[in-house]
Symmetry: D3
Subunit: 327 residues, 6 copies
């Protein structure tokens, strides 16, 4: 991260700021004492913060365009346990003058490096049918474009640009390790892992915030990826029926239990490993996201983690072998 920026995640009460932020929302409201004021949401790639304009409402308001950028001067305050910025001045900033990537919440890892990780896993597949299938899927221009930037979830884990890519690669590597340990069909495990959340590229839509698409709500990512993969398989004349059946089974069973939306439960060791690796990777990521939020705090416990429905313990043991958590 750029050292010299005042990142939203690092704002502290009392600070005077003079920095460029994205304008996520702007609303004119009526002051109780008469006259209007502005309620804003400002943000950068590390998070978002509320802001208020009490004075010079008209002048400042005209400099703030929702979806645009503005240089903000003002003071950070704490209000009801949350921070807010009281804005005293604002000037429009053209998009060309900034590094756009500083304003979108995104994976800390380079998407191109992650993408190469995916490609290496595909190249490694020994079964020619699976390799060909995966190659076709990830060469599809729509997939290649969307998969690079899609988030993996709306809010619980990897809910940011390229989150799907980060999660898919990490969990595929974990699954490969387990497949080798138990001497399973490594090709099926890797193919299943790489495809297990593919449908999320059509399930979620991320602009200012991440929202479900209509297809996402009515069909869901799991059925959508099964439909897509099966259509790709149909194009491969020699794809073995047995391999198709087991691969589709992995996708249909990857949530593990009916109550989590899987229409099948894992009935092969390969399907079990893909499910477990998916589950673990999501939860570990949720833990790390909780641990690194408000990282300045000395508090040993994180806020309530919604994906794990508990508080996470942040302190490391004295002679710990762990690298700094969540880095």
């Amino acid at each position: 991260m750029a050292e010299n920026r005042e990142w939203v995640r690092e704002l502290r009460p009392g600070a005077e700021i003079d920095e460029v932020y994205a304008v996520h929302s702007k609303e004119v409201r009526q002051r109780r004492a008469g006259g209007p004021f502005l309620a804003l949401t400002l943000g950068d790639r590390t998070g978002s913060v509320s802001a208020l304009v009490w004075e010079n409402v008209e002048a400042i308001g005209s400099a703030l365009v929702v979806g645009g950028l503005a240089r903000i001067r003002g003071q950070v305050q704490r209000y009801n346990q949350r921070l807010q910025v009281v804005v005293r001045r604002a000037t429009t900033v053209p998009a060309e003058e900034v590094n756009e990537s500083e304003f979108i919440r995104a994976s800390r890892q380079d998407p191109e490096a992650l993408w190469r990780g995916i490609e290496e896993l595909i190249a490694e597949l020994a079964d020619p049918h699976l390799r060909q299938l995966l190659y076709r899927v990830f060469s599809d221009p729509e997939v290649a474009q969307r998969f690079r930037i899609a988030p993996a979830a709306r809010s619980l884990h990897h809910a940011f640009r390229s989150g799907l890519l980060e999660h898919t690669l990490s969990m595929s590597l974990a699954a490969r390790g387990l497949a080798r340990h138990y001497r399973l069909d490594e090709g099926l495990v890797i193919a299943g892992a790489l495809l297990h959340d593919l449908g999320k590229i059509w399930e979620l839509e991320s602009g200012a915030s991440i929202e479900y698409t209509d297809d996402g709500r009515l069909l869901g990512h799991l059925p959508m990826e099964v439909l897509y993969v099966d259509r790709r398989i149909a194009e491969l004349s020699e794809f073995p029926a047995e391999t198709r059946r087991q691969l589709l089974h992995i996708l249909l069973a990857h949530h593990g239990e009916y109550e989590y939306g899987s229409p099948r439960r894992p009935k092969t060791p390969e399907a079990l490993v893909v499910h477990i690796a998916d589950n673990l990777d999501s939860k570990i990521a949720g833990m790390f996201e909780a641990i690194t939020s408000d990282a300045g705090d000395d508090e040993p416990w994180t806020g309530f983690s919604r994906i794990l429905e508990r508080h996470i313990y942040r302190r490391v043991a004295p002679t710990s072998s762990a690298r700094p958590r969540g880095e």
Copy 2:
């Protein structure tokens, strides 16, 4: 039912029988007092019954071919609350000499009449896209052949030849009534109802008994019918995306809740009505099957119904308007 046959369902303890039955299984066992005896399962379309051969084991055994038919003479006994036949004589009967339909458990309704019911519902569809789709599906020779005879389940309800056809038509009519009452999109409801269990033609396999196929266990009927219907839709160039989305949603949500294997829950009134009609029709059929089993009994309570997990009350109120239950 032929009046003059001794149907399995109507056997009573003490009766002397002389009738043709199908031989479902035959096993040679060792008598405790020395020497072999035969343990059989005999059946016709109304059910099956155990049978034993204590004497002339070799001669009788050679007349009994599993999968074939035999004229059986012997006596019905009660043993441990269940009936069994003690066989004294048996002679092989060629398949040509009997009406084969008397030996397969099947719907009491005429499959061709049921099939015409389906066709009438399709013809009635006002939306040309849905009508064309349904027409194509039910004209597919594989569907036309399998759908006429497939059972609707392995054991819980409609677990007999043409059970799927009987269930599909009955529940589609119930769903149509509800769609009209609530003034919903009748076409979507009928199309969803007709297709909601289509995948069962590939999920179940019925020979001597009804068993799951490999695809049935690994993929399940719900994903299989979604894959099939989507491929048929892809052949119709003008099929509206909105109609596709809502129709597939009905199929994906027809079990109603995640824990019953639905990857989606109903989010439109049409999907809700198809789910409710399916649920009701299965349970009513389960109740009727319990009520009509051992129908000779005066006992007001049926045996334990597995689909409803309870005993069903069989008695009708004194001035009841109901036609004899389960007829």
Copy 3:
């Protein structure tokens, strides 16, 4: 609906209003900048809205009587995703000058027409005992008076004046259709359907808002209606024990499962059909209420429906046969 009224449901941000509303609540609070202001809730039969008085607090306040009516002038604003009215002037309006029915949230259907629907169903009953019982129940002056106006729930569905009547008639007709389809005892089904929620006339109390009565919380509508119906049956000397048993069973089982407060689960086809029709009618009504709220919106998804615990999809398919949803 009167075309020329500014109904609460149709208010839009920015609008200047000059209309009569009911005053549901009024509270004097202290302005942060010093001096009092008024926080109000205003309403008509289409809904309710917050309102604030910043100026002329004393004068305006004296014109606003909780439980009374007032002509309001002011402006509609959006605040935190919800609308509020900033009131500039208010004058008391005598109840005689308005059509009172415009100010109470109520069924869109005419209660007398609904009541006649109930009476027709009773007249139709072939079993003289059931007909006589139902006639007595609905002729009881307390029932006749309360049943016409009671809501069917506190908040989830049909939570408005005559909601119980609307729900009872709609679900009885749905149940009758299903009883005919499955050739059940139509009389028991209709009698059970008409009585299934009778206890709600004592469970809920609706003044300014709908609240549970003490009996409602301690006894519940299901036991109260069973106690009431059984007392009415006791007055009919020839009422058959078998019919009483099956009718009370329908009432005791109409929530379907123990966890929904049914002390019995349906053990007859008639009890099952009443339960299913009740369940479906409540959920469909919940869907329609969600779909028609904020009906001006183009948004394809409704807000979160509490009774269904999900968002509902509002868009109709292109060549839909449905009448406008929820009309």
Copy 4:
């Protein structure tokens, strides 16, 4: 217990017996080696046992009348972990010649002493309305006769003659102790405790075995006792509405949670105490029944207790203050 009887509970493999037992069932079956044999169930008030007749089938058979008594000579054997008696001789015994109470499974406590315990609790009630109500209920000849002998359950706990009486008194005393400790309304607690399972006198029917009645299955004991008690209250002109409401609430809530068939959950401390005392008394009785079955065993663990869904530990600590468990 009579010391000189060979009680069923005390039979041991290998023993030669010569004792009178009740004949619960008799069935003629065909020997595999040809010829008939008899399968019997014999019993006394301590339990029941299977028995077989291999020789003199006709002569012995004619001496055995189901529902009657017979002197049995033969030998006890173990077969498949269970005991069975091989009968060599049997002679009919007239009912007048035996003490009938030795042949019915019954409480070990004297029903008249238990009944006096109930009467003392009623006499102790300080509230005249509750005292009068309880007095009327327990003076009702039908209640007085049935309540003395009814079992408390079909199989889980107190499933024997006068089991309801034993359970009601024991749990009422436990509830009274808790009511005093927490200084609750002792009258309501005792009245609720005495009436909480009253409906079981109509729910269960005990002849040779304990079975549900039709009303028991369709209505259940909880609604039946509420209907009965409310009718008795209606006869008392001055019974306070508030006392009725709270008393009926205790009955409606005594299973504690919806999923156990309570249409209400406890909302007063008195209802909570009645529920907890009922729950505890049933479970303690279930533990004691498990502990004292096969009491000759040294095995520290009982068989699987169905009411507690676990094995119970039978051993007492070395310097235990407990009286012998379950005595």
Copy 5:
């Protein structure tokens, strides 16, 4: 309670107050109309209340020290259903000038009297091993000091100073009564009851508010007390293994079911009674806390009780034998 104090629990809207309160929190915020204001939390042992300072912010602010005491003059107002105090004047009050016990939320019972109750139960133990063990545990200076003041929970029940002591004594007496009624091993029941929540002295930490310790969150009170008690047992050379096993079992099973955090379920009558008494005492206390909150209200229903997940009925029956509820 001192009659002449204006307890927080007794404040009513509109009242003018002049009283000493503890200052729990103080925050400077910015007025929308410009300039700062103070947001406070004030409290005494009966509860806490929000307060605001609009005028003389600097002067008043300097008199208010978090963790200290202040005499407050101002007015009580209702805001959004909750009370708040608008402070006009404040002066610091030295701790020596007040009775400190008036400012800490605490049991209404004398801790020393409660402690003597515990000691009497220990002295009463007939088994010398258990008596010696309990004596050692409660003589441990750390236990003796912490157990006197620890709360029994963070928020649900007995969440106040000496709450653990109050709960432990009350539930031990209830458990003793039940042990005697069922003639169980009274010593094991009392020892188990006295130790069942011992670990809470290390699980919770109560300063300004009650919070979990790190050990409390990572280990929990149940494992901590098992570890502690087992170490004390290890110091007693002759402690019987059988008594240890059954005592530790009671502790491990006292939450009754796995899903409530018990690694074992009760398998002895003694463990069952300790579990039930714990469960009952917590719920009754939760009911009484709900009933006595806002005790001035005439409202028959309490607010939503979180421990019972319902509203509690507060009204007593007309000729109730109960002492005023919750006194």
Copy 6:
């Protein structure tokens, strides 16, 4: 496996056998046709089978000693879907004449090799406190002796000699791989993994069959290992409190959820990984045990796996990279 033995797992109907087996049980029963017969259970390390002796009962019976070995001649038959041996001759075989390991169900892996795997993991621990602790634990003679042979469960997975060792090593290696992938505190993960089921050496007792000990049922393996490990930690004067807290947390949380008997849920990434690796290793082992049972079968589906509550698919994909499943 010895090629030349007739292993129980490989018996087929119709085979004539002449082989040495262990005698697990022997019972004398009465033939229906008169005279006694013997019912036996025979076994070797691959499983167990029923057997019957109809002739020469006395002579054969005297050669069969429960707990001893015998050479058996006879024929294998199928009876009710299960195999049974009809024994014609039997002679006692002294234990010295056979390789005892052929008669005890045991891990297919060499226990000493597994033990060295454990030692290598300990030696690898970088944290000196953890290394010292683990060294002490596994050097404790009781642990060293019991851990080598203990089973990991009574029936679900690894239910055989050295099953605990096999499971502990396999899951520790899987956990180490995941710890490295996520860069967690590897020492804590490995220490937690090695100790997570230690208590099973006191929970289960394996002689002829695997049974729970009294401590196992009353205390459980999880609390027992926590008590043991904490006592070992207490002997290490410098063991950091923070490391103790996190290590005990891993043990207390390793079942993952309360309902599986964990008194804590994982609140650190290390505890989560130990739980997930334990869960996966048990399930994969359960799948492999199902897949390799009746391995001669061509049937693609295994019998019902109790640990997974489903049937497992056994077929491998055509160009599978997997080594033969379960080898």
